[in-house]
Amino acid sequence: MEYILHILILIGIYVILAESLNLIVGYTGLLSIAHAAFYGVGAYVAAIMALKVGSPFLLNTICAVVISGLLGGLVGIPSLRIKDHYFVIATFAFQIIAFSILNNWVSFTGGPMGLPGIPQPSIFGWVISSHIEFLLLVSVFATLTFWICQRIISSPFGRVLTAIREDEVFALAAGKNVALYKVAVFAIGSGMAAIAGALYAHYISFIDPTSFTVMESIFIISIVIIGGAGSLWGPIIGAVLLVILPEVLRFVGMPSSIAANMRQILYGGLLVAFMMWRPQGLIGKYGFKLEDTKK
């Protein structure tokens, strides 16, 4: 039972990560492999505040969101000058720089040793101590994230994002300040990723940089793509699929020594398969195709 709860909690965290990345990648068409960096920044900010300042969970999460959001906006700025796959490489670079900072700024982040002993979150006196309570907390935030994304997508702002994805020139000619939208969507997406980070930090109660690597970014983007970029439910389906499938392997008798490898082969393989035959994912609207965008 605890095991099932654990899986559900992980799904919840990845739903938040995937929905937020979907705003950037699926709706605005900006492929970013830096999402794990914002996830990590969120986790570290929340953890450091909880450990060193002792402030309450909600405040820490808000700070994590703000700092991550500002960084996200910063990463969005190069997207104005660097285009297409060069921009993907730039986000890649940013991800590696972020990891490097988390890993090497030992006095602040604990370096490779990480930050142990993160206390259980407490919200207005309610201490979240059991798996069930944590699942409740994660569900609330996941639902909130979903709701925010839904509001954004169905608003005129969201309409402009889709326009930018397909034809920036059209958007500019229609009077939209494309640069502002791009920076804004990056800020929002990264801010939300920080929520997932804060939740993760308090759930596992120990974080180290190895949870926030390029591989993790690729995993999150795989969730978005396989579930379906550019649709609201795609990231949820993707998260459920990619979190549960590797667990299924465990029941089929896969030795644990290679379980981690098989998990990665699984989503790597799915990524290749979907890109080759169904780039819009299971239920997505955006398939990164040439016909989908106009230069």
Partner: protein, 251 residues
């Protein structure tokens, strides 16, 4: 005295090729100007410079007294300029209604703070815009296709749609790049009838066209361009009969 739209000595070249050479012209409110000339004459380049997509090397553009030089494209669009493109830009993955809704300027819902904190006001404007969009689409004859994806329209309907997008933007200056090229006569008539009405609304249009009949029908004034230069200007008939124009086409 500078007129409503004043273009003065515009120069632009690409890699040594002169696209615009000391190009000047002016336009009053409520007039339709035709821009004709062979391919590569610099007509689309003029549009791109006017709308802020390409910077000019020298010269000035003043619109309603505002200097457009170095202004970003979206800023110029918000000053009351709307345009279409030679290669027909639309957002094909969304419905035609959504394309039109995109084209409204100054939508409160485009500011996320409004979407979340002033939801009712945002909704109200969105509903109003929808009504306007539907009525314009109806007048244009696209009523049944309102929820059809833009990619599913015929070429002529797509051109009509891009014109509708310009109309709802409430722009006073419309720049239309080949609005009736490559479409059926019935659709040409429909588009031209919309264009002829625009001066009465106090709007001006500059159209680039190769279709001389259409130009003669709607334009008050025509400029003939070749190799980036203004060769001559006048009424459609004057330009049509100008020996320099005839010569340029014979070259």
């Amino acid at each position: 005295m500078s007129s409503w739209l004043e273009i003065d000595n515009l120069n632009k070249h690409f890699n040594g090729v002169k696209a615009l050479v000391d190009f000047s012209c002016s336009l009053e409110k409520g007039k339709i100007l035709g821009l004709v000339g062979p391919n590569g004459a610099g007509k689309t380049t003029l549009f791109n410079v006017l709308t802020g997509f390409i910077p000019s090397e020298s010269g000035s553009i003043s619109f309603c007294g505002i200097d457009l030089h170095n202004k970003p494209a979206h800023r110029i669009a918000n000053l009351g300029v709307a345009r279409t493109f030679q290669d027909l830009r639309l957002i094909r993955q969304i419905t035609i209604l959504e394309n039109v809704l995109l084209s409204f300027r100054n939508q409160p819902g485009e500011n996320l703070a409004n979407t979340f904190f002033r939801a009712s006001k945002t909704k109200k404007v969105e509903v109003e815009n929808k009504d306007i969009a539907c009525s314009v689409l109806e007048k244009a004859g696209l009523a049944e296709k309102i929820n059809v994806l833009a990619s599913d329209l015929s070429y002529g309907q797509q051109k009509l749609l891009s014109l509708v997008c310009c109309l709802v933007s409430e722009a006073d200056l419309l720049l239309l790049d080949e609005p009736v090229a490559g479409i059926a006569p019935a659709m040409i008539e429909q588009i031209l009838s919309i264009l002829i009405d625009l001066p009465k609304q106090g709007r001006s249009v500059i159209i680039i066209e190769h279709n001389m009949e259409a130009v003669t029908q709607v334009c008050d004034h025509v400029i003939f361009m070749d190799a980036g230069e203004k060769i001559c200007e006048g009424t459609p008939t004057e330009v049509h009969n100008d020996p320099r124009v005839i010569e340029a086409y014979l070259d």
